[in-house]
Symmetry: C2
Subunit: 209 residues, 2 copies
Amino acid sequence: MEDRRSAKREDLKRRLIDAAEKLIEQNGLRDLKARDITSRAGCALGALYNAVQDLDQLVVLVNSRTLARLGQALHDAVPTRSTPEETMQALARAYVNFAVGNVNLWSSIFSLRPPKGRDVPDWHQSEFAILIQEIIKPLSEMRPDLNADQLRIRAQTLFASVHGVVQMSIYGKYVGTPSELLEGEVEALVEALSRGLQPAKTAQDQSAR
Amino acid sequence: MEDRRSAKREDLKRRLIDAAEKLIEQNGLRDLKARDITSRAGCALGALYNAVQDLDQLVVLVNSRTLARLGQALHDAVPTRSTPEETMQALARAYVNFAVGNVNLWSSIFSLRPPKGRDVPDWHQSEFAILIQEIIKPLSEMRPDLNADQLRIRAQTLFASVHGVVQMSIYGKYVGTPSELLEGEVEALVEALSRGLQPAKTAQDQSAR
DNA sequence: AGTATTTTTTGAACGATGTTCATTTTAAGG
DNA sequence: CCTTAAAATGAACATCGTTCAAAAAATACT
């Protein structure tokens, strides 16, 4: 009868994550309030701080969920048999679709600024590897000259470039691609990258020496 | 003797912007407090709300300054005579250097999330055009087939991709390029983009139809 | 079953923060 | 010098995240 307590404890935690997730999805991370969460989860204000360390950690738990969903979407997008370029294009398309379809939750993943002293927990940081996991295989086919470390770094760079275009487009009409052109611009970006990434005989890759 | 008042008024406003700029530079946007600003500017708390509408607008004024400095740095980075690729590389290098050398102020430019109803003023939004201004000329030499609108859009995409890599690298060890490799990765990215961007006879650009 | 002990839940209270506003102080005009 | 308008002030307010002593609930023990 001891697990009765821990069951209730985990149930409350789940309800809090559910509530926070729903509220972020609806109103964005910026307007997330502790009182709204506990109200929706059906518990007292203080209960939040029994279940989790603080609001930031609760957001981390929500982001962890979103990251898992995003990872699944990327994994599912990989075609069974196709050229590296086609795989890259499919991954980029899936990323754009997920971001557009989950703006607030997706944005929350990258909006977490831990206060001064503290830091995002290691277990969560390592979850971000899922974002580049699927890129490595097609990239290694395009660049058989790179070793594992170089491939990981280059994959991070490729992801970040696509991510930057999506982010600029979605939030901020600043210098962002108009949303109706986003898909096409990302496609053009990935195509240019794919073409330019192929090792040429005349120009060797300078950064991968 | 009427301009005596408006002179004092503008002097206070300048002191407030100076103070906010310094504080953002030192501690980042997240830890910017109204009381710290007025204390440093040498005025009462309420004076801030006489000089500017609210804290957000003060941050906009700081960001406007930073954007101007960044624009100047980009402008100065353009070589007098060189290939389009070299110009692109020079611009990307300048962007990386500015971001690394002004992390908090640079980050503040892109961290402004206006609360629910309100929006970033138009005059400030248009200032962001300075980020892609210098890219258009070299890009037009690489892609003479694109018209003005297409060039602007494509330049935005190119900027956003480099920006994404820099952002991921600087803040968040998530999936970011290690800082010591940042310059090299951006160089590789721009090189790949430059090579891939050149119109080929076999594959026409699909998004610029 | 009844009692003691431990754990959980609660919500009032606290400190920090952005913003407002009645009051005071300063400057301009006649 | 006096009147009047503008600006500066900082106490007060509302809204946050977070804490904590007290109450309630669950578990363990005899």
